[in-house]
């Protein structure tokens, strides 16, 4: 028994996650306004997404298609569905109701298999519209003390898919793994850019605790404001501990919504069940039922590319099926950062898989955007140099760093320029040899102790290598040749 398990005794966590994902559509869910992050406030707006009197929503076909792609990737079935109105007052919600799917969502009943082999059930993945964004000005940015608030409606009406898991998650690690895997799937479907930091993926967690072996659920709390995998893990750890302490002290957990305070590293109560909004859901009369025809559903399912799990399996396969856990983590990183091609191409060129994987998962993944632009053949060549001993691991990493910074290039030339190797020495020695043969008088003079001609010889080597050689390295090599002759 691990110390942690011992400390928490016979308690078990029961966690379900709700992940909101902004869809990468060209336009918003119910109007033709651009769906784009970061534009000047209130520029992507129209009567519909401002909820002006008389305006009406029209459903975006591309959003439905992306929702179906997500559903298919999560093994859900597509059902005839309808939209509801969720009624509550908030300044950044233009109509003071949100159009959302309620008890008849588009996708139901799927699952997500995690890299550790565990499976988390998916209750539903439904479509809804996003709200605008409020900024409280003055008074420390808090709503209560601010002088005034500014609302940006560019985000109002942006399509979201909310993915609701079964309460199948049992640890912080599993929760992080779930969100990370889900992010990979959302990116792979083309539905989302998966950027949590920009808010295009947002997570709410429901957590309760119970005695191991109990079939009954405890009273749960919902935690909001989880903006990263790190805060998700920490919030769950904190909240589980809080609930266990309450129960062990003979007290009860109150069902409520709690806010994760990142700085204070704790959750605080937002509102209890009694104070919970009555959203007065009812079917949205301005929209008609959504019933995608089966041919469309089949076409969408058939157009799905490989999911992260398939790609991990492929890499493990070319690596020779090694199941070492360290390597699985590296494979996970490579797949999440979409660097599969680097590893697969390197192996294809005869490079050892484990080395290619390590460089891709560590050095390349540290600068993922540059790494995705890298020519996989250049990466393969570099790994081959390192594998053959022509570059030390330190040198190889340095050359890789240079490749990433430059956005490409020839690894051999970079290594030579840096005066690295074996490889560089071999090549440089050949050039110097030619320069000596072509300039016997200068060489004799140098051998005779005239150091002034060294500059001319170095200059000729530099010219022959088109400036790639390192002058100091050439000088050192000339001295070595003189002393050994």
């Amino acid at each position: 028994m691990t110390p942690a398990a011992h400390d928490s005794g016979a308690w078990e966590w029961v966690v379900g996650l709700e992940v909101h994902c902004e869809l990468q559509t060209a336009t918003k869910l119910f109007c033709g306004c651009r769906n784009r992050f970061g534009d000047e406030p209130n520029t992507n707006i129209c009567p519909v997404c401002l909820g002006l009197p008389g305006s009406l929503p029209v459903l975006n076909r591309q959003a439905v298609e992306l929702a179906m792609r997500i559903g298919a990737a999560l093994h859900c079935s597509v059902r005839p569905s309808i939209f509801h109105r969720k009624n509550y007052f908030y300044p950044d919600m233009p109509k003071d109701y949100q159009i959302s799917q309620y008890d008849e969502p588009i996708n139901v009943g799927g699952f997500l298999e995690l890299p550790d082999g565990s499976r988390v059930g998916i209750v539903r993945a439904h479509l809804e519209e996003d709200t605008g964004k409020t900024t409280h000005v003055g008074g420390g940015g808090r709503v209560g003390s601010s002088e005034y608030s500014l609302v940006d409606y560019n985000r109002a009406g942006v399509p979201l898919v909310e993915i609701v898991s079964e309460p199948d998650i049992r640890s912080a690690e599993q929760a992080r793994l779930y969100v990370s895997e889900l992010r990979g799937i959302l990116v792979a479907t083309g539905a989302s850019d998966g950027r949590m930091e920009e808010g295009s993926m947002r997570v709410d967690a429901n957590i309760s605790v119970r005695r191991v072996g109990s079939e009954q659920f405890g009273t749960r709390c919902e935690i909001k404001n989880l903006n990263s995998l790190r805060s998700l893990g920490r919030a769950l750890e904190y909240e589980a501990r809080r609930q266990i302490e309450l129960l062990e002290a003979g007290e009860t957990v109150v069902q409520e919504t709690r806010h994760w305070d990142e700085e204070a590293n704790r959750t605080t109560a937002m509102r209890s069940k009694e104070e919970a909004f009555d959203y007065r859901y009812f079917p949205e009369p301005d929209l008609v039922p959504l019933d995608p025809d089966p041919a469309w559903q089949r076409a969408v399912a058939a157009s799905l590319g490989p999911m992260p799990a398939d790609r991990r399996a492929r890499i493990l396969e070319v690596l020779g099926g090694t199941e070492a856990s360290a390597q699985r983590d590296q494979v996970g990183v490579v797949v999440n950062q979409a660097l599969d091609d680097l590893v697969l191409t390197a192996v294809d060129h005869g490079a050892p898989g484990s080395l290619a994987l390590a460089r891709a998962a560590n050095e390349a993944a540290a600068n993922p955007e540059a790494a995705r632009r890298l020519d996989p053949k250049a990466f393969a060549q570099l790994i081959l140099f390192e594998a053959s001993g022509k570059l030390s691991s330190t040198q190889s990493k340095e050359v890789l760093g240079e490749l990433l910074v430059r956005g490409g290039g020839d690894p051999e030339a970079i290594a030579r320029a840096k005066g690295f190797e074996a490889l560089a020495a071999d090549a440089l020695a050949a050039v110097i040899d030619e320069v000596i043969k072509a300039n016997p008088a200068e060489w004799d003079s140098y051998l005779g102790g005239n150091d002034k001609v060294a500059g001319a010889l170095i200059g000729k080597v530099m010219a022959a290598t088109k400036g790639q050689a390192d002058g100091k390295v050439v000088a050192a090599e000339l001295r070595r040749l003189r002393s050994s002759s």
């Binding site: 009197p53 029209v58 009624n87 007052f89 007065r280 301005d286 929209l287």
Partner: protein
């Protein structure tokens, strides 16, 4: 009385100019509307400019369309770009929509010229046009009486002869009942036949825009112009509008007409008598007339007063003081919402928001809203059974002729009963028309209601055309006298 079709013909043939026609309409409004108050806003300059532009196009050989130069009044819940649209409410004071409703665009591209916005019950909630922030509209036939509502301004503008055509909206009878009380033709089309884009919503699943006109033929003409699919309204029917103008002249030979007992039970004796006479007239014109009973219609009123307020409570949430219209400042957003809505909405609107909020609340939804939807289905199925027997139904539009101002303002239930005969068609999404047919014992107009199944507009207009040709004449309001009536 002015007939839009003839007027447009004269203008297209250059026998009269649009400018002349529009100027006359504006003069009539200037002379008579101080007493009637059909308009909350007249846009004389814009109308004259449009008329002149239209005349230039005609001079250049263009044909501006079937409503060329016809002056129209628009109910003030239809969005007009740059022209204040207030729905008879303080809460929308000063709001100028940045866009035109689809029907407004279609009227314009058919050559019609908007001369103003017509008064209405606040957010179309009412049956007398007394619930307006602008004050009540009066019935041109008797200024001490209401014009009906909620499209009372539209009905009065046509009845007074200000304009031959007005648009209204009908959620539970708001076109037909004022049409009946003012002695004009009013049509509520099949749900989805006319785009709702730009109609400020009251109850989205019931609202339909339709014409109020001086003749059945004009109603057909206008419906042909404003009807038809609109991609901006998801509930719009994707089918062409039938040629209704032809139907007006087609007669009723062989048509099966059912006098719906539930739509004459309990209505005033004189109103019932006119419905019976209308049935006889149709019979004389070759229709097969029989009595039909549809007992389920009696659930209509209760179902309506749950569904309509429920949808309204949500539709009217957006008037929160944040983005447009009235704002009453307060220390925080929630207090500002409350202060704004308290000051901006009238009593009837508040009553319905509360009714609707209650009907949708957790724990009450099934007993009220869901139950009302079941009753709605029941009404629709009952209609379906009746329409297996007959092609159209006949009944009263309003239980009485126009009632005196103030008679029902303090008795909401009595006011709600004004719509008892019109509500079932809204619940079912079916078309219905009110056609003037004689007068009551008080000499005021009576409207006979013709109902048809979904997309049964052709039958509706066949019956309407015949009833119009056989109706006893109604005395026209004495326009000359209107100007001298004291403004109240």
């Amino acid at each position: 009385m002015l007939v839009a079709g003839e007027l447009a013909g004269q203008i297209r043939r250059r026998e009269r100019s649009a400018r002349e026609v529009v100027t006359e309409a504006l003069d009539r409004v200037a002379g008579g509307d101080a007493a009637i108050r059909a308009f909350v806003r007249v846009c004389a300059d814009a109308a004259l400019a449009e008329a002149e532009a239209l005349d230039r196009r005609i001079a250049a050989g263009e044909d501006p369309g079937p409503l060329a130069g016809v002056p129209v009044a628009l109910k003030d819940n239809l969005c007009t770009k740059g022209l204040e649209t207030t729905c008879g409410s303080r809460i929308l004071e000063g709001w100028r929509p940045p866009y035109d409703a689809t029907v407004v665009e279609r009227l314009r591209s058919a050559g019609a010229i908007t001369i103003g916005k017509a008064n209405m019950d606040e957010f179309a909630m009412g049956s007398s046009t007394e619930n307006s922030a602008a004050g009540p509209t009066r019935n041109p036939h008797d200024l001490s009486r209401v014009p009906g509502g909620s499209s009372g301004g539209s009905a009065a503008a046509v009845a007074a002869g200000f304009v031959p055509v007005a648009l209204g909206s009908d959620t539970g009878g708001s076109i037909r009942q004022p049409a009946a009380l003012c002695g004009v033709v009013g049509v509520k089309p099949t749900y989805g036949l006319v785009s709702r884009y730009g109609l400020v919503a009251f109850a989205s699943s019931l609202d339909q825009i339709g014409p109020l006109t001086a003749s059945v033929g004009d109603a057909a003409l206008v419906l042909e112009v404003i009807g038809g699919h609109d991609p901006a309204d998801s509930t719009s029917i994707d089918a062409p509008v039938p040629r209704l103008s032809d139907a007006v002249e087609a007669g009723v030979e062989g048509l099966r007409v059912g006098v719906c007992l539930e739509l004459i039970d309990g209505v005033a004796r004189d109103v019932e008598a006119r419905v019976r006479e209308a049935a006889e007239a149709l019979s004389g014109a070759g229709a097969k007339v029989e009595d039909v009973s549809i007992p389920e219609l009696r659930y209509g009123l209760s179902a309506y007063y749950l569904i309509a307020p429920a949808e309204a409570s949500s539709n009217l949430a957006r008037y929160d003081g944040v983005r447009y219209g009235l704002r009453v400042d307060a220390p925080d957003a929630a207090a500002m919402n409350k202060a704004t809505r308290t000051a901006g909405f009238g009593a009837e609107v508040k009553r319905r928001i509360m009714l609707g909020t209650y009907a949708l609340s957790a724990g009450y939804y099934d007993a009220y809203y869901a139950q009302a939807q079941r009753a709605r289905t029941l009404v629709t199925r009952a209609f379906d059974r009746a329409y297996a027997q007959v092609d159209v139904l006949l009944g009263a539009t309003s239980p009485t002729t126009a009632f005196p101002l103030g008679a029902k303002v303090d008795d909401p239930l009595a006011m709600y009963l004004s719509d008892v005969c019109t509500i079932p068609s809204n619940l079912a999404g079916h078309p219905a028309m009110s056609v003037p047919f004689g007068t009551g014992d008080d000499g005021l107009p009576v409207g006979v209601q013709v109902l048809a199944p979904a997309l049964g507009e052709k039958e509706l207009f066949r019956v309407g055309g015949v009833l119009e040709s056989l109706a006893p004449p109604i005395a026209l309001p004495a326009l000359g006298a209107l100007g001298s009536v004291e403004r109240t």
